[in-house]
């Protein structure tokens, strides 16, 4: 070995690589790289990093070190490469087994099928031609099959599939791309596929399933992290039937399509194409083409469509056989959690689907598809699930000495967060905790994460809301473990999440925070959701808020936008004016206004709330864009965003600086909106003017606060920032004023990111 004998003698070094470098095919990569460059030496796992010893010419070693970062496997994240001269004996490069007592490798997310495996299942001569469970070290199931540690085949749901000699040989060969690929499988030894329901058995289950789909039937498809419900996305009847059976009238459905079809359906930028094709294969919200060949019921009233590429061989085969885009929505009944066990699927989905495409590789834990959107120059995660969890996030460097924290998150879109030093594990999406099944799954997930990552918290963090189930669980865990409990205000947690993801250090001091959210309990016992805060990691002060309105009926007001519309209009225009206006009398026809107003007067179940989410609801209702009763959270706000078109001068807001906190007053906005309604201005323009107006009002107020406090960074978070138009406007306007926006991207801006924020606040408080 060695290409240049004259300068290879005795020249060696030891290289330590840290980051996410275990369980991701890093050692085989190093092995192949060393062989390619003609270097000798060895590689082994050590603790949570990898140690490489190489011998060879300096130039080749430099090339090797550079390639470690640049050519690393898709799943790896190389954070640090430390080189140190050392005597390394010559000899063919080899992989050294990890010694006993070595810390086990971590668990990584599931990975979409890699190009090599895709080519293999399409190759009639290949051993795995049309094999639905093909994978390698670069791709395949990971987190969804892990049952314990160390990450080794016996500790996965592949334990019941002994390798055949051919697979074993690949598994043992360091030069093979399946070297130590734990889920390795082939038609001789791996999981198999079958179809339940439908008629004539015997034929290939993929072809049969595709035939049923083409015939307009509805199928349950067992995937990586759970069951999907699938139908032909171009068949209006099939889509309507699926909606009726699933009791899901309007919420947009996700579509799975190959890249060419995706391009036919949506406008896709190069950044978005990269995101689609990323190994995490999220559902990406893409701009729908006007003439997209798709059933109209897929995303009614939406300008965007949730699209994902096939991410398992099963999906690739099914999609190719069906020859059309497929609806792939989560397999559950209405709002229940996605089903991931066979028996449960047979029982719960029986009334919804006509047949089941099943396989016998068990799913270790439910992982919903991740959802993301490209906004303001970056991919932003809206739901963290399959493909993203449990990839750790890195906290700013001065959290290195923080005690380990367990944060429990919020009530809806719940997720947990576990921290250890600067590592933060934000769990996958666990669902809405008012469902008993989700509540159980939440507790199971807590134990699951604690065990898998050997995490022992020293602090427990929860929301201020006493009746969030996550708060209760946190209180119980803290009491049982004798641990301190940190209660973190909802919007402080949202801000802290944005700060920490942006790398804002504790030492960097406070920022201005703009929280635009639904509702979260405030420190004063009222409900917040449209606030300007000044906060560091430990404390938060509310400087300004949207003028509060009475939320007649509590949560009922979040479900029925006309309630908040009435509250806003009564406040802005006065009751008499509301009652005189023919537009409004029509809008409120048949609504019990007297009762609602009496409730507000007497304070009967009428919490006071400053909420951006409810302002969106009110404006959507005024423009006739919201049903009397929402069928899913965010429906009205999504409709308002979808209808907004073009540029429009911002609607005005008032600013009352004399009150504490200061008030951003929507009265002028509603007056202008009413004038435009009477003038017959198109609602596309009105919706655009609303977005711009809200952006300008909060940016202007934040800029004043920044100036008064001598600050330059502005954190933006809360569920309302899933609105691309608003976020885009605000980021531009902040930058134009010389302010630096801190916007979450890997952490969801909605309550899915709450636990991450709670964790950093708790950690910072404990560090003093």
């Amino acid at each position: 070995m060695g290409t240049d004998a004259t300068d290879s003698q005795g020249t060696g070094e030891e290289i330590e690589v840290s980051g996410i470098v275990q369980g991701v095919g890093f050692r085989p990569f190093v092995y192949r790289l060393a062989h390619r460059l003609g270097l000798g030496g060895e590689v082994r796992n050590a603790g949570d990093h990898v140690v490489i010893r190489i011998s060879g010419p300096a130039a080749a070693r430099d090339a090797f070190a550079a390639a470690l970062a640049h050519e690393a496997p898709v799943l790896a994240r190389v954070e640090q490469v430390t080189r140190c001269p050392a005597p390394v004996p010559d000899g063919a490069f080899r992989i050294v087994a990890s010694g006993a007592g070595t810390v086990s490798v971590g668990v990584v997310p599931d990975v979409a099928t890699c190009p090599a495996c895709r080519a293999e299942i399409a190759d009639p001569k290949a051993r795995r031609f049309r094999y639905a469970f093909t994978n390698c070290t670069d791709c395949g199931p990971r987190f969804s099959i892990v049952t314990g540690l160390p990450y080794d085949r016996p500790a996965t749901t592949m334990a019941g599939f002994p390798m055949c000699p051919a697979c074993r040989a690949e598994y043992d060969d360091p030069a093979d791309r399946r070297f130590h690929a734990q889920p390795i499988a082939c038609p001789d030894c791996g999981p198999r596929l079958w179809l339940e329901g439908g008629d004539d058995a015997g034929a290939d289950p993929i072809d049969r399933a595709a035939g049923l789909l083409r015939a307009g039937q509805i199928l349950a498809v067992k995937g990586i992290g759970g069951f999907h419900i699938a139908c032909d996305a171009t068949n209006a009847d099939a889509v309507a039937l699926l909606r009726a059976r699933k009791h899901r009238p309007t919420k947009p459905l996700a579509v799975m399509a190959d890249l060419a079809t995706a391009h036919a359906l949506c406008l896709i930028t190069p950044d978005e194409e990269a995101a689609l094709a990323h190994p995490s294969a999220p559902i990406l919200l893409l701009q729908l083409k006007r003439d997209a060949p798709l059933a109209p019921g897929i995303a009614p009233g939406q300008r965007h469509l949730g699209v994902m590429l096939p991410y398992t061989p099963l999906h690739h085969l099914l999609l190719a056989a069906a020859g059309r885009p497929l609806v792939m929505t989560s397999g559950n009944r209405s709002s229940e959690p996605q089903i991931f066990r066979d028996d449960e699927a047979r029982e719960r989905l029986a009334g919804i689907v006509d047949a089941f495409l099943m396989h016998d590789r068990p799913i270790a834990r439910r992982l919903d598809d991740s959802v993301a959107r490209h906004v303001a120059g970056r991919l932003r995660v809206m739901r963290r699930g399959r493909g993203l969890a449990p990839m750790p996030l890195t906290l700013p460097a001065d959290f290195a000495d923080a005690p380990p924290v367990l944060a429990l998150g919020g009530e809806l879109k719940s997720a947990l967060c576990l921290t250890h030093g600067t590592r933060a594990l934000l769990s996958h999406h666990l669902g809405d905790l008012d469902e008993p099944a989700t509540g159980d799954a939440f507790e199971t997930a807590r134990a699951d994460y604690a065990a898998l990552f050997a995490h022992k918290p020293a602090v427990v963090a929860v929301d201020l809301h006493p009746d969030y189930r996550a708060t209760r669980l946190g209180e119980d865990l803290a009491a049982a473990g004798g641990l301190p409990l940190e209660r973190v205000q909802h919007h402080h947690a949202h801000m802290a999440a944005a700060m920490a993801e942006a790398g804002w250090r504790r030492a960097d001091g406070p920022v201005v925070g703009i929280a635009l959210d639904g509702l979260g309990l405030g420190e004063d016992g009222t409900v917040w959701g449209a606030e300007i805060l000044v906060c560091d990691y430990r404390t938060s002060r509310r400087i300004a808020r949207l003028s509060p309105i009475p939320l007649a009926g509590g949560d009922a007001a979040s479900r029925e936008p006309w309630r908040v519309l009435l509250a806003h209009l009564d406040r802005a225009l006065g009751r008499a004016a509301v009652d005189r206006d023919p537009h409004l009398t029509a809008r409120f026809a048949g609504k019990p206004l007297l009762t609602l107003r009496a409730m507000m007067d007497k304070g009967l179940n009428v919490p006071s709330a400053s909420s951006a989410g409810r302002l969106f609801d009110a404006v959507a209702a005024l423009l006739g864009l919201a049903p009397d009763r929402l069928s899913h959270e965010g429906e009205a706000a999504m409709a308002l965003e979808a209808v907004a078109e073009g540029e429009a001068p911002p609607y005005p807001f008032g600013l009352h600086a004399e009150t504490t906190p200061a008030e951003i007053d929507p009265t002028p906005l509603f007056k202008a909106l009413m004038a435009d309604l009477h003038a017959g201005r198109p609602r596309a323009t009105a919706a655009a003017a609303f977005h711009t107006g809200l952006a300008e009002a909060f940016v202007a107020a934040a800029a004043q606060v920044a100036k008064a406090e001598g600050l330059t960074a502005v954190a933006l978070s809360g569920g309302v920032f899933q609105n691309a138009r608003l976020l885009d406007e605000m980021v531009r306007r902040l930058k134009a004023r010389g302010l630096a926006p801190l916007v979450p991207a890997e952490v969801p801006a909605n309550d899915g990111g709450l636990a991450f924020g709670q964790a950093v606040v708790a950690a910072a408080r404990r560090m003093g």
Partner: protein, 334 residues
């Protein structure tokens, strides 16, 4: 009424109101304490039951009742759900200066009438007048004693998986009536409080279902609070069926508009009872035969799943958790 006058004239006036109302209820000379013959009490059972409760309600008079009726029923029912025969009550009355004497007379009359209907004596009492603002119109505290039937042992921790959960009638009427009366809500409803003494009904139930595990009156916090306490104390799960909950359409509509969960609304004439499965039918029949139990229903069962948790099967076939709330139905949607 004036405060601070303190003269014996004022005192006599107040005493007159109550003495007049309660006379004939067994109260003899106005001693500082009521006295009972133990032997007579022991004829009813072998244990003494003793309870107290304070009553504040706005407004004082509401459809279906008033603070006086409430004060008697509340304490009678608290005794009765423990399996006790209520014997006598005391009542302490705090009056805000300026309350019309006529109001006091009406309340006293209502207490007397309710006590007679329940078959208990108001055996002793006290009144105080306080300055304006020191209390809101009228507060009443009643304390009661009763005698627990021999051999009967009911309790919140005695439910077992398989047991059946019953209520004696329509839920939420009292809470809805009070809110409606307080709010002037412009609703075309005639919802009345269900306020009633339940000792008679409970006698019937005990006879029909001797294996009775527990009873509770579903007052503040409604059925949700009782069922949660039961689940916790007995370390069992409870599964309720929304479609089985007896409820007036009017109350449901009222809750819909107010954004309230009717399971959390107060009742003043409803008990929740848990009986072993083999006694469920006879218990239900017995309850329904009683005037205060015509709408009685089986609303769920005790399970071994999720100890401490109450799960409701919704009308759409889904499930949701029914929690014990710390906050006052604070919004949870973000």
């Amino acid at each position: 009424l004036a405060h601070g006058g303190g003269g014996s004239a004022m005192r006599d006036l107040i005493d007159d109101v109550f003495l007049a109302a309660f006379s004939g209820d067994g109260r003899a000379a106005p001693e500082d304490q009521a006295r009972f013959d133990l032997a007579a009490l022991m004829a009813h059972g072998d244990r003494l039951a003793f309870t107290t409760d304070g009553f504040v309600v706005d407004p004082l008079f509401f459809p279906g009742g008033d603070i006086g009726k409430l004060a008697v029923c509340g304490t009678v029912n608290d005794l009765a759900v423990g399996g006790a025969k209520p014997v006598a009550l005391s009542c302490a009355v705090i009056i805000e200066e300026g309350l019309p004497v006529e109001t006091l007379r009406q309340v006293a009359a209502s207490m007397a009438q309710t006590a007679r209907a329940a078959g208990v004596a108001i055996a002793t009492g006290d009144t105080k007048v306080v300055a304006r603002g020191a209390c809101d119109k009228l507060f009443i505290t009643t304390t009661g004693i009763g005698v627990v039937r021999k051999g009967l042992d009911v309790g919140i921790s005695k439910a077992r998986p398989g047991d059946v959960v019953l209520v004696n009638g329509l839920l939420g009427d009292h809470g809805a009536a009070i809110l409606n009366a307080r709010g002037d809500l412009a609703l075309e409803t005639a919802i009345e409080s269900d306020c009633a003494p339940l000792n008679g009904l409970i006698d019937t139930l005990i006879e029909a279902a001797p294996g009775l595990r527990m009873m509770r009156d579903a007052t503040r916090g409604g059925v949700a609070a009782v069922v949660n306490e039961l689940a916790e104390a007995s370390a069992v799960g409870v599964r309720l069926r929304e479609l089985s909950l007896p409820m007036r359409a009017e109350v449901m509509g009222f809750c819909e508009i107010l954004g309230l969960d009717p399971l959390y609304l107060a009742n003043e004439g409803k008990i929740l009872a848990v009986v072993p499965p083999e006694e469920a039918d006879t218990a239900l029949v017995a309850l329904r035969a009683h005037p205060l139990g015509r709408e009685a229903a089986i609303i769920g069962e005790v399970t071994g799943e999720r100890p401490g948790r109450v799960v409701m099967q919704t009308r759409f076939g889904g499930e949701r958790i029914v929690d014990m709330l710390v906050g006052d139905q604070l919004p949870r949607i973000c």
